[in-house]
Symmetry: C2
Subunit: 238 residues, 2 copies
DNA sequence: TCAAATGCCTGATCTAGATCAACGTGGCTT
DNA sequence: AAGCCACGTTGATCTAGATCAGGCATTTGA
């Protein structure tokens, strides 16, 4: 279910993006922002909502204002691989293609700023700087994907779990530059397993192992406090 | 060791790229091509040559004219993950950054067309279409990387080996659209292992298994003929 | 021409992680 | 409240793939 917050009269579009010089809006001038503003809508979607379905053509894009989006690929037999997590103020959607075999789903409650494909394409035509922004994000995502390939291909289960926690601690709170020691895991265990190429049981075992070693504390399954970054990094194999 | 083929008076730059409307040259007009041509050099490098070292700043980029380039990441303790293969007419290098933690190495004998960073940046400033090309390649590489994450995280060793062979058969011969049934593996077994997140022994065992099942024939360790695509695809889990 | 090195294969064993199974807990619904 | 269901943990067992150990070509190079 989607809640429209508002659909028009947005004075400045996506201030969140602008704030950190990412997202797409920083590349536009005030006139263009206003023009785009007329075509956008902000929405708040709850965890579990599918934003982009694999293989299904979409008519629009979105910027993440807050929350976490999970990108995943599905195999014919049902096996799933989570191929990326996106945080504010990332851009959601595959430019220059009407569909992709990656699906995007809100992992937490997510606020997004949506706009139609045509609006983006028009903006790109007007502002080369915008394409540059998108290009930069694509390159950043490519780096992330390759870093994750390293984790998937070479690290042990224990290292994977530790690496995952470090990844989260670097990203869950977009306001904090660097690592936060107090974080809420936005995924359930089975999603973590699909991200790491492991089973739920293995993830659970290694989490309790880290807990028993005093590296972290877990409240309510989702809330994690990292007590010892040095140890966690050592466990990640860094 | 590098062999300079020639360094100047290139009438049309990178015809190979142009031919398939990829690479970067298709986005430039004749005048720009000529201008860029003055700053480029074609080189033939032998297998094993490091083109871009991880973490080391580079002053230039290249287009692959022929051959295969292997992209890899190294962990502190020596573990290696191959994070991508590039074929003609791909672009080599990380735009807008002077270094990257990915290293590029010629997997076979590779012919490249090199040009300085400044030349590329100048061209990008002049032709927005050029950045679009680069952006498209980045998105394509991102799709490839995510596809490979699926393989690394979810597929069994047997499926990985089969998937790898299918990947090669789709790419080794840039002239063939689709799959070729006769191919030369551009990597040694240990590289395949690093690509697949397996050990050499496991790769070897699954290759002989496919051979014994009649799916393929192997000559001289490197030359492979695929006898039964249906079986190979089944083995890949498709 | 004869080591020595490299690349690849195969066999025997070991183990990390999968699988199977049971159980606890908290949140919903009725 | 009672029952159910989704989620998470833990234990016992099994197995795919790692590790260890040879062995055989082919290449390198002194």
């Amino acid at each position: 279910m989607r809640l429209d917050i508002h659909n028009s009269d947005i004075p400045v579009l996506c201030q969140a993006c602008e704030a950190r010089h990412r997202g797409i809006c920083g590349a536009l001038d005030p006139k263009q922002l206003q023009q785009l503003g007329r075509q956008t809508g902000r929405q708040e979607v709850e965890a579990g909502t599918e934003l982009v379905a694999a293989g299904v053509p979409t008519d629009g894009y979105a910027n993440i204002l807050s929350g976490i989006v999970k990108l995943s690929k599905l195999m014919a037999d049902g096996r799933q691989q989570i191929v990326g997590l996106q945080f504010a103020p990332d851009f959601v959607g595959r430019p220059f293609a009407t569909s992709s075999d990656v699906s995007a789903e809100a992992a937490s409650t997510v606020r997004i700023c949506t706009f139609p494909r045509s609006a983006l394409e028009e903006m790109v035509r007007q502002s080369p700087g915008l394409e540059h922004r998108l290009h930069e994000q694509a390159l950043r995502e490519l780096d992330d994907a390759r870093e994750w390939m390293m984790t998937l291909g070479q690290r042990s289960a224990a290292e994977k779990v530790a690496t995952f926690l470090l990844l989260l601690s670097r990203h869950v709170d977009p306001l904090v530059e660097g690592y936060s020691d107090h974080l809420e895991i936005p995924l359930k265990r089975s999603d973590i397993a699909d991200f790491l190429g492991l089973t739920v049981e293995t993830v659970s075992r290694h989490l309790t192992q880290l807990r028993k070693a005093g590296v972290l504390t877990i409240q309510n399954n989702r809330l994690v406090t990292i007590n010892d970054f040095k140890l966690l990094e050592a466990a990640a194999g860094l």
